[in-house]
């Protein structure tokens, strides 16, 4: 790690995409510069970023209820299959094929 910390304007240039492997290495290894970077960015964008990401990646309104129903159904079906596979001493996937085949 270099003894000299990069200037703020160089940090911002790197953030904007400037290719500088030496600077990148320094930032990764230097706790002080990592913290400086957090400060440069954090105050300005943190809250808005969380809000925007939460909105952009939000599941549909009834997602949790539907998911719980589907998971419960799968686990119930798995339990039945495991009983049948125990009786016939077959693997779970084999049993699934045997049971579902028409």
């Amino acid at each position: 790690m270099s003894l000299f910390h990069p200037k703020k304007k160089d940090l911002i240039k790197w953030l904007d995409g400037a290719d500088d492997p030496k600077l990148e290495k320094h930032i990764s290894d230097c706790e002080k510069c990592s913290t400086a970077m957090e400060l440069i960015q954090g105050v300005r964008v943190e809250e808005t970023l969380e809000q925007a990401l939460t909105l952009a990646l939000a599941p549909k309104g009834d997602f949790v209820d539907q998911l719980e129903g589907r998971v419960t159904e799968r686990l119930d079906s798995r339990e039945v299959l495991s009983v049948v596979s125990g009786i016939f001493a077959s693997g779970l996937e084999t049993t699934r094929i045997l049971v579902t085949e028409e």
Partner: protein, 186 residues
Amino acid sequence: MIEKLDEVQSEPSVVDPPEPDPSQLHNLVTEYSDAVFRLAYSILRDRSLAEDVSQETMVKAWLALPSFRGEGSLKGWILRIAYNTSISTIRSRRSIVVDPHTMPELDEIPELSVENRVESKAAYVEFLSALNLLDDLSRSIVVLREIEGLSYDEIVEILKVPLPTVKTRLFRARRRLEVALKEWAL
């Protein structure tokens, strides 16, 4: 713990399945499914696939729950299962869809409140584009850090990438999203 999680990647053993307890399952799904969905959606960029991965993750987590030793947070453990399941899904799709430009994109805009709809829509679309342009790893890191509030160490554990990579990807991803966010915040 890693060995246990690797086991979760394949079909979990049914030698001794836990007795279903509806209330515990309900709590697990209610508490963590949104986080699981967000991570899966950020990687897969397809709502329907993210829902399938969420379901798969919850089934795996439930079946493997007795093996969870509490060495890290339960949330981190479940998100690692979600991440691995998402990566497996995207790999299996890539074997079919060769051209990366045909991969699905963030496809829907959730409903905004009426008063904000008109003003925010353009900025929102711009933000989605910026988010979509990030690579999968950077998007995952941003989600885990900014929405889920995980520590750097937890992110390292979930994604299995070095700490410097987590930091540098996060800094740059934030910067790229910042431009779109300036419009959003107005």
